[in-house]
């Protein structure tokens, strides 16, 4: 693959919901092997950006384009985008009563194989595969027989997201506040998991409020979002500066 073509390129993206403008001329480029962190105050449009890239239907796109590996994905459905290799770890993972985690994961994995014109995997081989992946997030196999996210603690839900990320092995992973609500041990396990999954062909966007995640997963760039725009881009040191000065100093 040509590494001069960015995995993700967002150009002049304008998005609104119920006539309220959320993103205003947003630009972002992510190349292979890069980790980008997006920080910014609540309501600045970070989660919206992640949902738009994944293809959430509630938003109205007023202008701009999103290119994945050089091709526009604006017209694609969320499941088609997923098959291309876009993964979104949800800020609030959804509970699905009555559906076992194992069935859900296998269905997702088989859907991906099918999209790539490969044969579906049988349940026994899948169990072996998923047991390997469970080690990445240090999860107990009993997770598989529980219903998807039902009755999971906050940390277990987030771990389950990373498990799915490991399983689907997508090229672009967007993590929407995956570190929020985690205790210190869970944060370490999840960060280690993400570092294990990351390769030089992949790209990761980390949406976070806290510098402590960035201590574990070192980003190449840090972007600060404010009022639907990226107002500052810097390297790792920007996080320190933000930590001490807050977002206020960027406003002026």
């Amino acid at each position: 693959m040509n590494s001069n073509v960015p995995i993700l390129k967002v150009t002049d993206l304008k998005v609104s919901i119920n006539e309220i403008e959320i993103l205003k001329d947003l630009n972002l480029e992510i190349f292979e092997g890069q980790i980008h962190a997006i920080m910014g105050p609540n309501g600045s449009g970070k989660s919206t950006l992640s949902k738009i890239i994944a293809g959430h239907p509630s938003y109205e796109i007023k202008g701009g384009d999103i290119l994945f590996q050089g091709n526009s994905i604006m017209e694609l459905e969320p499941d088609e985008r997923s098959h291309l290799g876009i993964f979104l770890a949800f800020q609030y993972p959804i509970e699905v009563p009555g559906v076992s985690n194992e069935d859900f994961l296998r269905l997702a994995y088989n859907a991906k194989l099918k999209a790539e014109n490969k044969d579906e995997i049988d349940p026994i081989s899948f169990l072996m595969l998923i047991n390997e992946k469970l080690k990445i997030v240090e999860m107990n196999p009993s997770f598989l027989s529980r219903n998807v996210n039902e009755g999971f603690s906050g940390g277990e839900k987030k771990r389950n997201e990373i498990l799915q990320m490991a399983l689907l092995d997508s090229q672009l992973c967007i993590l929407d506040e995956t570190d929020s609500g985690l205790d210190i041990d869970a944060l370490r396990i999840i960060s280690n998991g993400i570092n294990k999954i990351m390769t030089k062909e992949k790209g990761i966007i980390l949406i976070t409020h806290y510098k402590r995640l960035l201590d574990y997963i070192k980003p190449d760039y840090i972007h600060v979002m404010q009022d639907g725009k990226i107002i500052k881009t810097g390297d790792f040191n920007l996080a320190d500066e933000l930590e001490t000065k807050g977002y206020e100093w960027l406003r002026n």
Partner: protein, 150 residues
């Protein structure tokens, strides 16, 4: 189990009459409403004055698909014996846009997502049915719901 779609209205239910001593019964009702439909469940549990130690457990779960469907539950308990134990549980859940989006994001197609959610919802009932019948029931459900979410 009751399923309604489009502009259908269903008014279904069950009655359980306890006459003898130490009798027990269980009712599990699952109602699914899609499209613009209305689904109502009526339950009557009647315990006669001779039915000492009678037990009943009723569970009534409704699943709404989309924003225009409707579900109602009307339970009636008629108990004339103070030694009887009666339980009633009801729940309503909804397949919403966010839940669907979660499945789609993981690459699972819309129809597969809905049928997975529905068979999960009906699992308590399906596991009680003979295998051939439960497989048939699952297939019928997904057939009936084709194109109901959009």
């Amino acid at each position: 189990m009751a399923l309604t779609n489009n502009y259908q209205q269903a008014d279904t239910g069950s009655k359980m009459v306890h006459i003898g001593q130490d009798t027990s019964s269980q009712i599990i009702s699952k109602g699914i409403s899609a499209g613009n439909s209305k689904n109502s469940y009526r339950g009557l549990i009647s315990i006669s004055n001779k039915a000492f130690g009678a037990r009943n457990y009723s569970q009534c779960d409704s699943l709404l698909i989309g924003n225009r469907s409707n579900a109602n539950t009307f339970p009636v308990l008629n108990v004339q014996n103070s030694t009887a134990k009666i339980e009633h549980e009801a729940s309503t859940s909804k397949i919403g846009e966010e839940q669907i989006f979660y499945f789609l994001q993981r690459g699972i197609a819309l129809e597969d997502a809905i049928s997975l959610i529905i068979s999960g919802f009906c699992r308590d009932v399906f596991t009680e049915l003979p295998l051939e019948f439960s497989a048939e029931a699952e297939r019928l459900l997904s057939l009936k719901l084709e194109g109901s979410v959009g």
